[in-house]
Amino acid sequence: MNQIIHSVELNTTSNLIIDISGFEGPIDLLLNLARKQKVDLTEISVFELSKQYIHYINTQVELKIDVAADYLVMASWLTYLKSKLLLPADDPDIEEEITAEEMASQISHRMRRLDAMKNASNILFSRPLINRDTYLRGIPEEFDEVTKLIYNSSLYDLIKSYIEKQESSIPTPIRIFRLDFMSIDSARNLISKIYSKLSSWINFINILDSDIEVSNKKSKMASSFSAILNMVNEKEILTKQDTKFGDIYIKKIDKD
């Protein structure tokens, strides 16, 4: 018996080992014992296995109490199972919760299930694993991104908005027109520009034609006349009118 146990490969590297013997729980222990008994878990002798398990637990005097519970629960369960398997079939009058055969098949199922998961785990971890056996691109690159706007108005939308505009009685916008008149200041500027030409008498009417920006003749005449009167007052210009309502002539005053 002890030989069997010592031949089991012990795993001491992992930090999650529960027992000093290297088993990860009672089913793991059962599996290890079973492997010594038979290859096919479906044909395992649960009776023989229970015997071995109970014997093994009994030899583990140093079993730590905090980890022992799982093993001891299993041991007592297997002891119960063993005694049931030993006894002849129960009195059919007594209603049993569970038969010995059911218990045996249950423990065999649990062993097979854990065994399947252990195998699956081995298969998974034997696959080429990213960052262990194989590596991904170290320097990923980004690409440009362009967003294009699409306007989805229909012809109907377009026409509708146009017609709404045409039909609705929107007041015409207020437009501020440029006022067509000549200020006294601008009239005076005008006369100053032609001042040098005023060395002889010139008809006042003629100077009005020199400005084309303002078409309002009355405004031009009134403002220019006022400007001239100012200039007469300032002794810059002489004026003369030969007859009543006749032409007005102007001439600059020679200052030397």
């Binding site: 199922h109 785990s121 194989t134 590596y135």
Partner: protein
């Protein structure tokens, strides 16, 4: 996050992707190669279809198989499944690369078994894992696996006590080279043998 990045992962941002189509199969192969090579994450097939000249799955599949062939004996290999494709270093060069890049530490046997149990039984709870392993402490293993982003919390089970449910992640599929969870080794065989059912109720 950039829109193109989401698209490459197969996540559609709510703005339409209207890529200009390229010219020929030769160009298409180069384009697919460049996109997948440039990405660290697996690139989704749906995104690649928007980049090639024909929006046709079998046309793209042909390009993917050509690329796989091109890289068959190289230091970098091209892999694809129904959803994703990626480049990775050849597992044959494991020894030459491992000393510099290895990130995956060796896990304990308990953690490895716990991962397998979650993968095959997901979503599952800690007590179900413990029941299968026949041992009443699996907490350390769950922490390690969560740290690795191989498992994640998948809500709570609708039973008294509402225990946390665990399932495997996309990273698990990527790292173990599985196209999806139905791709797990021996899955149907184990199901058939009734080994993936919990004992509860028996």
């Amino acid at each position: 996050m950039k829109k193109s990045f989401l698209n490459r992962l197969g996540i559609k941002p709510n703005i339409k992707l209207v890529n200009e189509k390229s010219l020929s199969e030769f160009d298409d192969k180069n384009i697919v190669e460049a996109i997948v090579f440039a990405s660290r994450d697996p690139v989704h097939i749906d995104y690649l279809i928007t980049k090639v000249s024909k929006s046709d799955k079998s046309y793209l599949n042909n390009i993917l198989s050509l690329l796989k062939e091109d890289y068959k004996t190289r230091g970098v290999i091209f892999e694809y499944n129904e959803n994703y494709c990626l480049f990775k270093t050849s597992p044959l060069l494991k020894a030459a690369l491992s000393d510099e890049y290895q990130e995956t530490r060796d896990l304990s046997r308990a953690a490895k078994e716990t991962l397998a149990i979650i993968a095959y039984h997901q979503p599952t709870t800690r007590s179900e894992i413990e029941e299968i392993r026949g041992i009443s402490s699996s907490k350390g293993s769950l922490d390690v696996l969560l740290d690795y982003h191989w498992i994640e919390i998948a809500g709570k089970k609708d039973i008294p006590g509402r225990p946390i449910l665990y399932k495997t992640t996309k990273k698990f599929l990527l790292d173990f080279n599985l196209s999806d969870i139905n791709d797990l080794p021996n899955l149907s065989e184990l199901k058939r043998e009734g080994l993936l059912n919990s004992l509860e109720g028996k």
